[in-house]
């Protein structure tokens, strides 16, 4: 049952992300991205990471998706766009991408794995996560506040009216 669920969710995830990349209409791309997010959240649930699944849906399927939709609406990109690229760039990009894929496949196939990993029942609970964040990862957690603060300052700088200049 669990295996069947895993394969079904993985299939949905892979197919919808491929459609997202190859669809010419950006609106459909965004919708299939949404499907991808939900199927990944489903995978998290099967791995006992309920909290991560909920956060994933709230943050990605909620906030980031709204952002994408707004950008598409603002830029009026609902019609099909044909990018003009020179052949040389296309060939170079394809070759580079395939070479990178080859490297990843080679590395993955020659790596050794230490048997099957079974997720503990406690692993995805909010309290477990909290313990890890406030013990082991306390410094990164606190330090990231500087990161978010500077991002917020950036938003203010770009959007506030220049009172002195005008």
């Amino acid at each position: 049952m669990a295996a069947a669920l895993f394969y079904a969710l993985s299939l949905i995830c892979i197919v919808s992300s491929l459609i997202m990349i190859f669809h010419k209409n950006t609106m459909y791309s965004v919708l299939f991205l949404l499907v991808t997010f939900f199927s990944v959240a489903g995978l998290y649930v099967t791995l006992n990471a309920q909290f991560l699944a909920i956060v994933h849906i709230i943050v990605y399927a909620g906030a980031i998706m709204v952002l994408f939709l707004y950008v598409i609406m603002f830029l009026n990109m609902s019609h099909i766009i044909n990018f003009q690229k020179s052949k040389a760039i296309k060939i170079a990009a394809t070759a580079t991408g395939l070479m990178f894929l080859l490297v990843i496949i080679a590395a993955l196939s020659s790596a050794t794995y230490n048997g099957n990993v079974t997720a503990g029942h406690e692993i995805g609970l909010a309290s477990t996560l909290g313990h890890i964040i406030f013990n082991e990862f306390l410094i990164p957690f606190e330090v990231s506040s500087i990161l978010f603060l500077s991002a917020m300052v950036g938003v203010v700088i770009f959007n506030k009216k220049d009172l002195i200049d005008e």
Partner: protein, 458 residues
């Protein structure tokens, strides 16, 4: 840790200064806090955070030396920014706050001990840069620079994350010490090599090493000059510190791959930077390419990687930094007063502006590597380091290319001393004159007492 907390708090304080109309207070407080951070590092007053750190960051002699150079250089940068931005800029205190946050990120980056901290350090260092690059909202070029820098930077951030994930996938840990012991006990996994290469790509991007250099000239040209000076100096010191620390970490695994990789990058970076800079006419673009060339030069010491590499690299970067900030500062002063943009238009600067030209010439001759200026010893130590380690052909390439690079700086110097009085005299305030004289003294002092400086950096 105390210095990072101090700088973060002072950044917040600087924003409050803007809120309560106390703009003039922000800069002195930031400068004081930078000097306080220097004291913290010199006298090892990191504070006792041992029960919280969990081996996330480590403050040892390596990170102390790098942090001292980062903080020392940013003092010059803040003084430069005082004269670059007029008091009337609305977001002056926010800009100061962003640079302060970024300096704190640089210090974190050179003290990382855990790959999570590596990622966070890079991000805290970079996010303010993207904002600052686009902070001149009226200028189309600045907007373009900001967007370009942001998009390429975000792309390389994702590459770095992919690399970190690969390493985590191979060993199940972010801790470099644990990974090192796992590598020694069970051998290196191919996933680890792939991950390390991806992380190195992101670091080469931050250092603008070839083949990840293409953003640098456009961003340097379009961004406000203070940001250009910051990206080409302090950011490179921090990124080089991270690269050196990461190189020390990955060479626990068979070092041949890495030596070949670094050698390849160092040589193409030096060749590309020096050769392409010959055909540049815009001063900021030229310094972008000369910065690229210098990164290739410094990377020679990363290839050799022994106990002497750290002080030599730091000396070279410090010498480059002080001269570059001075050159950028004088260039931006000349540009705001006269509208000069290309190198040819700088002709005859000496006729009416003796002090500005003197500062400019000292900086340029230091870049070119004329003794007794600090740039000479910066180059000398690295080349001597290569010779001692018996990398003769690398030393020969470095010497040939630095002669080629010197041509560029002498070309600008020749333009400045031309007898031509097309550039009118520029009125300088007293503190700014003192700043130029102070920078000249520092460049000379670094060059006259190189051994004492190396002792401090060790």
């Amino acid at each position: 840790m105390n210095a990072i907390i101090l700088l973060a708090l002072v950044g917040v304080f600087s924003m409050f200064c803007g809120l309560f109309r106390l703009r003039t207070l922000a800069l002195p407080v930031i400068l004081l806090s930078l000097i306080a951070s220097l004291v913290i590092y010199q006298y090892n007053m990191h504070g006792d955070f041992s029960n919280l750190l969990n081996n996330m960051v480590r403050f040892d002699s390596f990170s102390d030396s790098f942090s001292i150079v980062i903080v020392f250089s940013s003092i010059f940068l803040f003084i430069m920014s005082r004269y670059y931005y007029s008091e009337k800029i609305e977001h002056l205190t926010d800009i100061y706050a962003l640079i302060t946050f970024s300096v704190a990120g640089g210090i974190l980056l050179v003290s990382f001990q855990n790959l999570v901290m590596l990622f966070l350090g890079v991000e805290i260092l970079s996010i303010p840069l993207y904002i600052l690059a686009a902070s001149n909202r009226r200028s189309l070029e600045s907007n373009e620079a900001g967007l370009k820098y942001f998009l390429t930077g975000a792309f390389f951030t994702s590459i770095m994350l992919l690399g970190i994930t690969m390493i985590y996938g191979a060993y199940g840990s972010f801790d470099t010490d644990q990974i090192t012991s796992l590598i020694q006990s069970q051998g290196a996994s191919p996933l680890f090599v792939l991950g390390a290469v991806l992380i190195l790509c992101a670091m080469f991007f931050k250092l603008s090493a070839v083949p990840f250099h293409y953003w640098a000239p456009d961003v340097y040209q379009g961004a406000p000059t203070v940001l250009t000076a910051y990206v080409s100096t302090v950011v490179k010191i921090a990124a080089m510190g991270a690269l050196l620390k990461f190189a020390m970490f990955i060479t626990h695994y068979e070092s041949n791959i890495w030596v070949n990789l670094f050698t390849f990058v160092a040589i193409i970076t030096m060749v590309y930077g020096n050769v392409v800079s010959i055909v540049q006419h815009n001063f900021k673009r030229l310094l972008a390419y000369s910065g690229i060339a210098n990164v290739g030069f410094v990377m020679i010491a990363v290839i050799i990687l022994n106990d002497n590499s750290v002080p030599y690299i730091l000396y070279n970067l410090l010498a480059y930094t002080v001269a570059a900030i001075l050159a950028f500062s004088i260039y931006s002063t000349v540009k705001t007063h006269t509208g000069v943009d290309t190198i040819d238009e700088l002709a005859g600067l000496l006729t009416n502006n003796k002090l500005l030209s003197a500062g400019f010439l000292v900086a340029l001759l230091s870049f070119a590597g004329i003794p007794p200026l600090s740039g000479f010893f910066g180059k000398y130590f690295i080349i001597a380091h290569a010779v001692v380690a018996e990398y003769f052909w690398l030393a020969i390439i470095a010497v040939i290319l630095s002669v080629l690079g010197a041509y560029n700086y002498l070309r600008i110097s020749a333009a400045i001393v031309k007898s031509n009085d097309s550039i009118p005299a520029i009125q300088l305030s007293m503190p700014y004159k003192l700043y130029i004289i102070g920078s000249i003294i520092v460049i000379l002092a670094l060059g006259i007492f190189p051994d004492q400086v190396l002792d401090i950096l060790r």
